[in-house]
């Protein structure tokens, strides 16, 4: 998982956010799967079910940062050799995962100045049946943002 950079990154600028579909998503993805997290504050929840994270994942800044229960896709690996693309376990359903790059325009809304910027995203979804942390069978949809 990589964070991306704007083409002309201003120092300490919030414009770096445009690179954080992957970055912010990592936080959301990681935190929903941690107990007592208040970091994600999505209120589009369709239910209160809490899935269990897959046992594995990556820890890109070990030992300083949290583990991400997610296996990033590797373009060099054939699909037959991928790790589990789901972020939740005890799961039966459809999953999607993408690692994608692109460009766009960032705008300082105070000055109106716009500039071309790049992004990189690692996103996906899981939709189907799962067993939640309390052992109950549930059905739901989750986005890995």
């Amino acid at each position: 998982m990589k964070s991306s950079k704007p083409r002309d990154p201003p120092a300490n600028s919030r414009r770096f956010f445009i690179g954080t579909v992957a970055t912010a998503g990592t936080a959301l993805g990681a935190n929903l799967l941690l107990p007592n997290s208040a970091h994600a504050f999505n209120d589009q929840s369709c239910e209160n079910a809490r899935p269990k994270s897959i046992p594995g994942g990556v820890a890109p800044f070990n030992p300083f940062a949290i583990m991400i229960h997610h296996f990033p896709l590797n373009p060099a690996v054939p699909v037959a050799g991928i790790n589990d693309p789901s972020q939740i376990t005890d799961f039966h359903g459809f999953v999607g995962l993408t690692h994608i790059r692109g460009g766009g325009t960032g705008t300082d809304t105070k000055t109106g100045v716009s500039s071309p910027m790049a992004f990189q995203a690692d996103m996906g979804f899981s939709t189907g049946k799962f067993i939640d942390i309390d052992g109950r069978r549930r059905e739901g949809t989750f986005a890995f943002v």
């Binding site: 990589k2 300490n12 919030r14 414009r15 956010f17 954080t20 579909v21 970055t23 912010a24 998503g25 990592t26 936080a27 959301l28 970091h39 504050f41 999505n42 589009q44 369709c46 239910e47 897959i54 890109p60 800044f61 300083f64 940062a65 991400i68 896709l73 373009p75 699909v79 991928i82 589990d84 789901s86 376990t89 005890d90 799961f91 039966h92 459809f94 999953v95 999607g96 995962l97 993408t98 690692h99 994608i100 692109g102 460009g103 766009g104 325009t105 960032g106 705008t107 809304t109 992004f119 995203a121 996103m123 996906g124 979804f125 939709t127 949809t141 989750f142 986005a143 890995f144 943002v145």
Partner: protein, 134 residues
């Protein structure tokens, strides 16, 4: 992961197509990956680990909207992975994304139409894991 409304995802697996759409999702802009994973504490650097020093940056509330589309099978595989306890049918596909973000003082819009060549790797799967793995 964040909970999503069931209609946020459409899957037509037989036609190698899926779509994920969410609007105005509240997130935190953590500035960079290191701050995202350290809750804004950054990285100390120079302690014998192969990471650069990254200054702490407090997260900022923001909103994102996105429309991700998986389309067209490039590879297909049946997987039965006893080490990770998952199995199913998996497709490597094309993909595109449109997304935007807003926060005080800044907004971003991705290019329209999205460039399909930006897809590095994308996968769709119909799978079972953990308890449902046999």
């Amino acid at each position: 992961m964040v909970p999503a409304s069931p209609d946020a995802v459409d899957v037509d697996f037989n036609n190698s197509h899926a779509r994920l759409r969410m609007n105005h999702l509240k997130v935190f802009d953590d500035h960079d990956l290191a701050n995202s994973l350290t809750f804004g504490l950054g990285l100390p650097g120079d302690l014998g680990f192969p990471y650069p020093q990254i200054s702490p940056v407090a997260p900022v509330r923001a909103f994102v909207s996105f429309d991700v589309e998986w389309n067209g099978a490039l590879e297909t595989a049946e997987i039965h992975n006893t080490a990770e306890h998952f199995e199913g049918t998996f497709l490597k596909t094309g993909a595109t994304i449109r997304w935007s973000s807003e926060q005080p003082g800044f907004h971003f819009r991705s290019e329209t139409p999205p460039d399909p060549s930006g897809n590095l790797v994308s996968v769709l799967g119909h799978e079972r894991n953990g308890f449902f793995f046999s």
